[in-house]
């Protein structure tokens, strides 16, 4: 086994793997390799990003950045020569991936099957792209087996020889998934063939991974398997309990497929773990979860909207030297994977990365190094593309057809220009969705205005723009826009939700509650609506009703940070700090980037007399951008007996904030009142 010196990380990606599927299999001993990994390391939920689309998410995992920085905004994109559309390419990525950073740092990476990795980048190591793994065509032509798909290109032939073809599978390979395979008429039912295609692709990745892991030196081995997601889109509807619309016969034939899929992944994991030693850090992640129980969308809805089957939390497992054992990792996000890998390898993370290293997973306290950015530094050794390389339109069309079959993209029509325009529009919408709720939300406004200029009837764009304006404090603009809409449009449930958001921003919770009730009448109740109703009751100080709303929300969706934070606030009001802390911990355990929840955790801890823990929670809220005056006030009070210097610094922030408020009020009083200001509700005065 050839090896280079230094630390090593095996990063395994299981697209769409979900603890809800895994935990029962772990409990019954059916995933022993994963059990071993968890026992010797840490496990946790991994928060995903919006939109929940795999090419964007796996690129965020590989870069530590959101789509507005990495540039991958969907499954497809226009071909470089304008002749049509093709799968999204590595040449469209606008920042370095972890393998580029390692390359310029003299470290080696072997990367297999990663989304948006084609054409292969000339990195220090070996790269086999997602497009290289495409299966062969019926005419015998080897699918994506072009030299562009492998770096170094001379490895392409050896890699192609490791391809596991669907034809090479035998009945014994499929029987564990479909025990009654012999009873199925394969001429009429193509589902076993679809299973075989997905199984062959997973086995191909495994063959290439097990070959490379032994034969090529590496510091980072990144292996991506798409099978859990792809099996899910075809077979999760048959997983117990039987869903409405699934016949008893289909249920009997296919109910074992998903369990089999996870067990097969465990077997592959077992094999991969045989090739690494105790000095290697193993990280297993999924980009999102997948509904597997009673919350699965109805069969036809799931087929029409594959993204609707995805859950907002994936999985993470972490094991290796210096990593805590048999503990939980809380508040992890897919954005954290690259910063964590860099920290583990002793490299600085870029301050322009959106994630954080999982320092709480380390046995010894660590302070990660930072640089301003990895972009524009050492590019000549980073294994970046020199320029755009051409993509064969026929190959691209075949790859797009596979995405169509999965339901991820609409079938392209005859009109090439129209297809290109639709793809650009769809990717722009995805970019907008990735910006919402982030500190970069203002960047979504011009993009939305562009889409509305193309089609003023686009309801989603109008509502999203209104929401953005509200978040940016442009309340008058938002109200003008919403009230200019047709009366029928304004009655829609989604529009009533935006009106409610506007009423919240105008500090009018009673009006918000009216809009939320109208939204419930129009579209029925759902967890997000319950959370908003709870929020209105909190602001109206109707604590019991708030508690009931959040409890309903949790009953519908247990992994629900907003509802947990809402309940924490209710418990604080009821004078039950222990319960409040418990709920807050659950909320931040699900999603770390939730500053209000950290703040409420601090309040609960403070009331329990745990000053040091409260400081930590408040500092965390402050560190992720939550800066109300009350937070500085509480920190000043808590620091005063133990660290007067820090208390003083928070006092100064408070004093400056007061001075700014007085200055703003003074300027405002000298300006003539506008028509808008004269109509502002009384409750908003002084905001």
């Amino acid at each position: 086994m050839t090896q280079i010196s230094g630390k090593k990380i095996l990063l395994i990606g299981w697209d769409a793997a979900d603890w809800e599927m895994i935990d029962p299999l772990l409990e019954s001993g059916q995933m022993p390799a994963l059990a071993q990994l968890i026992q010797g390391g840490m496990r946790g939920n991994l928060a995903t990003l919006q939109p929940v689309l795999s090419p964007m998410l796996w690129t965020s995992i590989a870069t530590g950045k959101r789509a507005n920085q990495h540039g991958i905004c969907g499954f497809t994109e226009p071909l470089p020569d304008g002749s049509g559309i093709g799968p999204v390419r590595s040449t469209s990525r606008t920042c370095k991936a972890v393998w580029n950073i390692l390359s310029q740092s003299g470290l080696k990476s072997n990367i297999i099957g990663w989304f948006a990795s084609n054409p292969a980048e000339p990195i220090n190591g070996v790269m086999i792209t997602d497009q290289f793994l495409r299966p062969g065509q019926p005419n015998g032509k080897a699918g994506g087996a072009t030299a562009q798909g492998v770096h170094p290109p001379e490895y392409a032939a050896a890699a192609a020889a490791l391809r596991v073809t669907t034809e090479s599978l035998v009945a014994g390979d499929l029987l564990p998934f479909i025990p009654r395979l012999a009873e199925i008429d394969l001429k009429k039912d193509d589902r076993p063939a679809k299973l075989a295609q997905r199984l062959a692709r997973a086995a191909t990745v495994q063959a290439m991974a097990t070959a490379l892991i032994q034969s090529e030196p590496w510091n980072l081995m990144g292996v991506y398997f798409d099978a859990v997601d792809q099996f899910g889109h075809e077979f999760m509807r048959y997983h117990p309990p039987r869903m409405d619309g699934i016949t008893e016969g289909d249920f009997e034939f296919y109910q074992e497929v998903m369990r089999g899929c996870y067990r097969f992944h465990d077997m592959m994991l077992h094999t991969l773990l045989q090739y690494v030693n105790a000095e290697t850090t193993v990280i297993l992640v999924s980009d999102h979860g997948y509904e597997c129980g009673r919350r699965r969308p109805p069969v036809e809805v799931g087929k029409a909207d594959p993204e609707g089957c995805h859950r907002p939390f994936g999985i993470v497992c972490l094991k290796g030297p210096g990593i805590k054992k048999n503990e939980r990792l809380y508040g992890a996000s897919i954005l954290d994977v690259t910063p964590t890998i860099l920290t583990l390898l002793g490299l600085p993370m870029g301050s322009d990365m959106d994630g954080r290293p999982w320092l709480e997973a380390f046995e010894q306290p660590a302070k990660p190094e930072r640089i301003f950015s990895w972009e524009g530094v050492g590019d000549d050794k980073a294994g970046l593309h020199n320029g755009n390389s051409r993509q064969d339109p026929a190959e691209a069309a075949q790859a797009v057809q596979q995405l169509v079959e999965l339901g991820y993209v609409a079938a392209p029509g005859e009109d090439v220009q129209k297809n290109i325009r639709n793809t650009i529009r769809c990717n722009k919408a995805n970019l907008i969705r990735s910006l919402l709720g982030t500190p970069q939300e203002a960047k979504a406004v011009p993009l939305l205005e562009e889409l509305i200029a193309e089609n003023s009837e686009n309801k989603w764009c109008v509502l999203t723009l209104a929401n953005c304006l509200i978040q940016l404090g442009k309340l008058t603009e938002a109200r003008t826009m919403l009230e200019a809409a047709a009366p029928a449009f304004r009655q829609l449930g989604q529009v009533q939700l935006v009106f409610a958001e506007l009423a919240f921003a105008e500090k009018n919770p009673a009006a918000a509650l009216n809009h939320l009730e109208a939204a419930g009448r129009a579209d029925g109740n759902h967890p997000q609506l319950f959370n908003q109703v709870g929020r209105a009751y909190l602001q109206l100080e109707r604590w019991n009703e708030a508690q009931a709303a959040f409890q309903k929300s949790l009953a519908a969706e247990p992994d629900n940070p907003a509802a947990l934070d809402g309940l924490a606030r209710v418990h604080l009001e009821f004078g039950e700090p222990e319960c409040a802390v418990e709920k807050s911990l659950q909320a931040v355990g699900l999603i770390h980037f939730f500053p209000e929840a950290h703040f409420h955790l601090g309040m609960g801890l403070e009331r329990l007399g745990k000053a040091r823990e409260a400081i930590l929670a408040y500092e965390t809220a402050l560190g992720i951008g939550y800066r109300p005056a009350l937070l500085h006030h509480r920190l000043a009070e808590l620091y005063r007996p133990i660290d007067p210097q820090k208390a003083d610094s928070h006092d100064k922030v408070l004093a400056n904030s007061r001075r700014r408020r007085i200055y703003r009020a003074d300027i405002k009083s000298r300006l003539p009142l506008t028509a808008d200001q004269s109509l502002e509700p009384l409750g908003s005065a002084g905001n």
């Binding site: 596991v164 025990p179 070959a211 032994q214 067990r263 592959m268 094999t271």
Partner: protein, 73 residues
């Protein structure tokens, strides 16, 4: 990758070791016959698939054996 062929040779030696720890038992047919079972003597074809490059050689060898057996019949 360069070591693929030698890996496959190694594989034949390594596979039984991996299989012994697998003990895969996936499902039962309606007649109660277990499938996908790994016996100590011979790993299932799916186990070989999960074994990656190491299992490829054994899968090929099995296909050959089956073909030769069919031919001799």
């Amino acid at each position: 990758m360069k070591a693929e062929i030698s890996n496959e040779r190694e594989a034949v030696k390594n596979v039984p070791v991996m299989a012994a720890t697998e003990q895969v038992l996936f499902a039962r047919t309606p007649k109660g016959i277990t499938v996908g079972v790994v016996s100590d003597a011979e790993p299932s074809s799916l186990t070989l698939l999960a074994a990656g490059v190491a299992g490829m050689a054994e899968r090929r060898a099995r296909r050959e054996r089956t073909r030769n057996k069919d031919a001799s019949l």
